[in-house]
């Protein structure tokens, strides 16, 4: 999807510093996500990807720096207010409510909204995107397979009628078949008008659908650019796309 270069900013991190106690997790981090984009955040373990997601949702508050959503500073807003303004999460490892039905999980996704005709429209849309979810709607979420749970987690996010979905590792623990399906659906959701900010370990998959990406290393943004640029970047190819060379790996380890 060609993006209008003048597309406005939807989410912006400006010089964000986040701490857990004394541990400095995000170091002066800046991101921009424009309307209609899929932006991917790449990086190894414990580099601050999940903290980024928690900072967007307001579960973790930055010590300094600003987070702006659609022109409004949100860094001091409670999570519920952010959800109301149109940010919805797809959490790492799905995190469904295991002893509630699939339908009740979807209802929780729409928690900040009134249950009017719009709710049923969105429900139909989710059922259309995920026929499996419709079949399973009266089953307890905890009894579903990992792939099915990921569908419910995405459906739950859509029920908030969000403008931005933050996804934390949507491919984690899924079979290759499901991974492909999940990424297809992410693209579909995006084409229907929802921007996506996605943390992902599976860099080749992420770069195949993202418009742009950031690479995070121990809390610092070390690289950013369009997905096409990053796919061609030597360091990225070595570190994240499986073209590991011995020297590259050594350099990476240091």
């Amino acid at each position: 999807m060609p993006l209008d270069a003048t597309s406005g900013l939807l989410l912006e991190f400006k010089n964000v510093n986040t701490y857990y106690g004394d541990l400095h997790v995000l170091k002066d981090v800046s991101y921009e996500i424009r309307h209609g984009e899929i932006v991917s955040l790449l990086g190894g373990n414990a580099c601050g990807k999940s903290t980024t997601m928690k900072t967007v949702m307001g579960v973790v508050r930055p010590k300094t720096g600003t987070v702006t959503f659609d022109g409004t500073p949100i860094e001091n807003m409670p999570t519920s207010e952010r959800v109301k303004r149109g940010i919805a999460p797809v959490l790492e490892a799905r995190r469904l409510f295991p002893r509630m039905t699939v339908f009740e999980n979807l209802e929780m996704g729409a928690f900040m909204r009134k249950k009017g005709p719009e709710f049923h429209e969105d429900l139909e849309r989710v059922y259309e995107l995920f026929p499996r979810v419709k079949e399973r709607r009266n089953q307890l979420a905890g009894t579903l397979s990992g792939g099915e749970q990921q569908m419910v987690a995405m459906g739950r996010a859509l029920m908030a009628r969000p403008r931005l979905i933050c996804m934390d590792e949507p491919s984690m623990g899924l079979s290759p078949l499901y991974v492909e399906q999940v990424f297809d659906i992410i693209q579909t959701i995006n084409k229907q008008g929802t921007s996506i900010f996605m943390v992902e370990q599976n860099a080749s998959m992420a770069l195949s659908i993202a418009h742009r990406a950031y690479v995070l290393q121990t809390g610092v943004v070390v690289l950013s650019g369009t997905a096409a640029e990053l796919r061609e970047d030597k360091n990225i190819r070595e570190a994240y796309l499986g073209e590991l060379q011995v020297e590259g790996a050594k350099a990476e380890a240091q």
């Binding site: 949702m57 579960v59 409670p78 999570t79 519920s80 959800v83 109301k84 999460p89 959490l91 995190r95 469904l96 409510f97 295991p98 002893r99 509630m100 009740e104 209802e107 929780m108 996704g109 928690f111 900040m112 905890g142 739950r156 908030a160």
Partner: protein
Amino acid sequence: MSGLSLFVQQSINGLTLGAMYALLALGFTMVYGIMELINFAHFSVFMVGTFVALYTFEAFGIFGQSTILHGLPLIGVLLAAFIVTMVVCGGIGMSIERFFLRRLRAVKGPASMITTIGISYILSNSVLLFIGGQGFNFPNPIPPVRFHFGQAVMQVEQPLIWVVSAVLMLGLTYFVQATKLGKAMRATAQDPEAARMMGVDVDRVILTSFFLGSALAGAAAVIFGLYYEYTNFYIGFDAGLRAFTAAVLGGIGNVPGAMLGGLLIGIIETMTSQFISTNWAEVVIFSILVIVLVFRPAGLLGRVAPNKS
């Protein structure tokens, strides 16, 4: 009395006692389900409830058992006693959460639990100091009607207690299953962080669970008073410990489990007292608890092992 009559008699008594324990057990289980906290202050909230009910009756000019009411005035006074006691107890429970436990929520370890024990003693000793340590005659305006089943006798209070308990428990079940706040409560119990990210105000959910649990303890307090026609500053510990046992027996954190556990403990208590000896009631209750927990550590209706997944 024949063996059968005794059995019928003790079933009637056990169901009554059990209904009261069940109401009290729900408060433990709701708070535990959401916060994994055993709220020992619940014991004394219940005890304070008996005094709130006592003074409510006295405010209507009902002292001891000499004032008997009929018809609408009776229904009105009973309704007032239940509502006032439930609201006051609910308010006490909410205050305990809001002013003490909320500040401790981020603290790991037993600080919160110890705080609830402390509050429990502060409440019971405040009653001892300001109201007195003697036993109090609890007013009861219900006419002394008796129903006979063979040789077994049912007082009119007993079916009344069953109906009130059933209505409250059905109401709670409806609230938790079908209302928006109830669903938020279940979601918070299963994954607080995910619930928060759906926009749930977790503080409000916790406050609500304290209100509801404590209000049910208030209802149990009115029932205790009407049934035993007695209260003192110490009754919270005996009844509370049995109710807590009921919650664990049924599966702590599990709402239907607390109801089942309460009824079982009530029936076990009356049957043991009748057919073995009153002195053995506690031994039998706690032996059954231990045996059940050895074979089903999560309780009768609880989910085994990782309670949170």
